[in-house]
Symmetry: C2
């Protein structure tokens, strides 16, 4: 009774821990949660696996799919395109699962414009200092890239008000548990339940 599948958009600055949180959620709930795989225009990087890390479709195909309105959202980040294909999300919903998108803020805001149903969760690092430390620790980017990322955070934060929830990622388990609570709560929300209430009233 009253169940509906959710579209969860997990977003926030790089280094906030979006990826780790999404992986933990899907690992804990393999039946009921599915993570949407993004498509990208860029090349495969060492350590990445096609159709597992991303769908690598090349720039030409990416642009053609934009043209055909086949993306739920897409964004250009440091010269490369990343996006969520509508097909992919439909496929995951057909599995009767909650669908998680781990995406950039640009894309999250596109989804906000299109859908009031989507649940936008902003993953917040505990502090700017901690964010810088995390980016340095993971050694994935050169210093210039890190500075670019940090500058971007400041400009992105002004869009935070378009989100439904903020989850501070201080401890991974706590952040995951808060998102689990958000999912339970959203399934109890009134909005979507009119039909079932009419059934209950009829029963009287």
């Amino acid at each position: 009774m009253f169940e509906r599948n959710l579209l969860l958009v997990i977003s926030g600055p790089s280094g906030a821990g979006k990826g780790t949180i999404c992986k933990a959620l899907v690992d804990k709930h393999p039946e009921s949660m599915q993570c949407s795989l993004s498509a990208t225009s860029r090349e495969v990087r060492p350590g990445e696996i096609p159709d597992k890390t991303y769908y690598y479709i090349g720039k030409e195909k990416f642009l053609s799919k934009i043209e055909k309105d086949q993306f739920l959202e897409y964004a250009e980040v440091y010269g490369n395109y990343y996006g969520t294909l509508k097909d992919e999300v439909q496929r995951l919903f057909s599995l009767k699962a909650d669908v998680i998108l781990e995406i950039e803020m640009q894309g999250a805001l596109q989804i906000r414009e299109k859908s009031k149903e989507a649940i936008l969760i902003f993953i917040m690092p505990p502090s700017f200092k901690e964010l810088r430390a995390r980016l340095l620790r993971r050694k994935r980017d050169c210093e210039e890239d890190i500075q670019n990322r940090l500058d971007k955070v400041a400009s992105e934060l002004k869009y935070i008000k378009d989100y439904d929830y903020i989850v501070v990622n201080d401890k991974l388990e706590d952040a995951v548990s808060k998102i689990e609570s958000i999912i339970v709560a959203e399934k109890c929300r009134m909005d979507e339940k009119t039909l079932d209430i009419e059934t209950f009233i009829k029963d009287i």
Copy 2:
């Protein structure tokens, strides 16, 4: 960071299990949750304890307090008045706790009009059949009273759309756990957090 105390309004038809749920919540979280005690105009009934079951203030005093706008909400139910004193809620908030009001729908809707901050949770019995069975089982009311209560449910359900959440009380532990999730989720909601975000941005 980002914490605020909540005003939770727990409402729904009699027999839905509101009282049991509220008691279970406060027993589980004696530090962080407080249940507001209502005032009533009616006499003490056998088994009830003054200042524990209700504040018994008599009809004259009750009406005078309505006059002085000292109630957050009040309702007349089967000829008796019941209400939440503003003083009582302020006292509980000063303990830095989330405050629970277990009240009638009339009162809940008064609070909805006054405050968008309050979180209205409707406790729903799993079915009308089960509701009738519960009312009969608890042997608190005569048959005529039970029929009155059941008739009231039908008329009350049309106001359900003013609530934020519906929690079906099929199993007590599940209903309690859903409300705990709602509390966690509400504390992650964006609305109230502008100030803290400005602090974070300053930190950059």
